[in-house]
Subunit: 336 residues, 2 copies
Amino acid sequence: MKKVKKNPVIAIAGATGLVGSEMLNVLEQRKVPCSELKLLASKDSVGEVYKFNEQEVEVEALSAESFDGVDIALFATSAELSSIHVPAAVSAGAVCIDNSSYFRMKPEVPLVVPEVNFDAIKDGDMIIANPNCSTIQLVPVLDVIHKIAGLRHVVVSTYQSVSGAGKAALDELWGQTLAVFNQQEVPQEAFQHQIAFNCIPQIDVFLDNGFTKEEFKIINESRKILGIADLRITATAVRVPVFFSHAESVFVETEKPFDLSDIIKRLSKAPGIAVRAAHDEYPMQLEAASTDEIHVGRLRRDESVENGLSMWVVADNVRKGAALNAVQIAERLIAG
Amino acid sequence: MKKVKKNPVIAIAGATGLVGSEMLNVLEQRKVPCSELKLLASKDSVGEVYKFNEQEVEVEALSAESFDGVDIALFATSAELSSIHVPAAVSAGAVCIDNSSYFRMKPEVPLVVPEVNFDAIKDGDMIIANPNCSTIQLVPVLDVIHKIAGLRHVVVSTYQSVSGAGKAALDELWGQTLAVFNQQEVPQEAFQHQIAFNCIPQIDVFLDNGFTKEEFKIINESRKILGIADLRITATAVRVPVFFSHAESVFVETEKPFDLSDIIKRLSKAPGIAVRAAHDEYPMQLEAASTDEIHVGRLRRDESVENGLSMWVVADNVRKGAALNAVQIAERLIAG
């Protein structure tokens, strides 16, 4: 990768959204070295002021000229905006860490969860893709199990919070719930159907094969990050009426026999993973919100196959699932 | 089974609970032949009056003497109460259809979903067990697929509404949601943790193997109803903040190749099953509430195994998952 300065100029593009503003929080909380921070967003937000390290930073308009002098650009923008502005930032000399889906599956772009495949970043790489939130929390867990016993088959069903769909979606769950209470008409914009007191088995649009794009992100991105091109993995992605954090019910069949206590031990020692080994002390979305870890619980031997394992995986989708993962990549680039 | 009169005396034990009162509704809506209806409940409810077929019926205390002259007794009571009162009803000559878990796995008691295994009821059977709600909506779907291509492996993750835990649980979701809105302390009794804006990966208590009883009900009851003692099936049961209906993400691997359109056609023709074949017209809990059907959507070929199928199954857990299924058994006993 490009050598990054020890005290870089960092820009956040899309700084006023849920993920962008969390990137700002995470940069400050983790005391990431930063000589100057630039906050970039659409014209509507220009002039808004955010606090960073005791200083006030004014939001500037995201444009082709935004990246002059920037060393690291964190993108929390849509695929469309990233497709335009990431190349501009690269031309200006910035290493870009992009949270959109636009570059993720391009063979020349590393797709990185630092705990798993930071070494996928090679000298000269100027674009690094941040995976989908549901993928980020899954892959470090699968990686540990794969190294112990080999992954033979993975079946994932997700319980994804509305924050994955941005600020408007948080407002919609809140507003719809209130409307149900007041027996008023339920307003609906952010989702295809009412999400208050309901689960929606659709995230993103449908592909011809009947899967959603979200489900194929989990499938394809997991394969790329783990470096197992033919990994047998399937997913059903479901939106649930929860504000923050995604949960996943994960079934794994391994190639080789394993010792459950060994898997628990190795997961517990893995960076970024917190294991709840006692059956009744499972993690939940409500508690995982605002934490950095990937929380794994309900770990149990699954007798439905010869070498089976079932579990429940929870993480803050805005934090580890997006902002934190991007900042962790930046930190390691800076550390060299 | 015992011959049942064409115009029987029917009793509902536990008539004032969620399932019991739904049994009353279903008996009336389906015009089930009934010369007299007896409503039985705990002392607290004695004297309450319910309407049935334009007549007023007063709740009586459930006791050893309640079943004199009763031909069919529908039990919507706890396992503990059923263990005491079902034998008393049998002694009084009533055929008992019991919704509790108490008799379900006893080898001599048929466990019945009428669409699948009504013929499990033999001459002389006086106790018929009604399966667990999450099992009832799953098994008719699995049965169709098994007959077409053979079940090799089934992985289920549930999204279960709070109504499965009774009236107090409905109040708790409602009250907790209101408390969150008003930034008050969140009251908590019915569930282990806050359910408002949260998912709880625990239903019923834990077994030593790390599964919950609910999960093993799905596993064991499905095997018994389908008559496949060694069916390879696993489940993760999760409570979600939804009032009515359970949803299930179901992955199936079959023994033989299948034609997806054939499965869709056969499921569509199966009694009690409603298929949404268009990918984006999936069923949801909000709409399935108060309907009789098992709704199947998101049916798609799953390439993670050679013969794979994924889908989303939704039904009203109080209705098809409990009250309706019991009444359907009674109807067929009466029809002889």
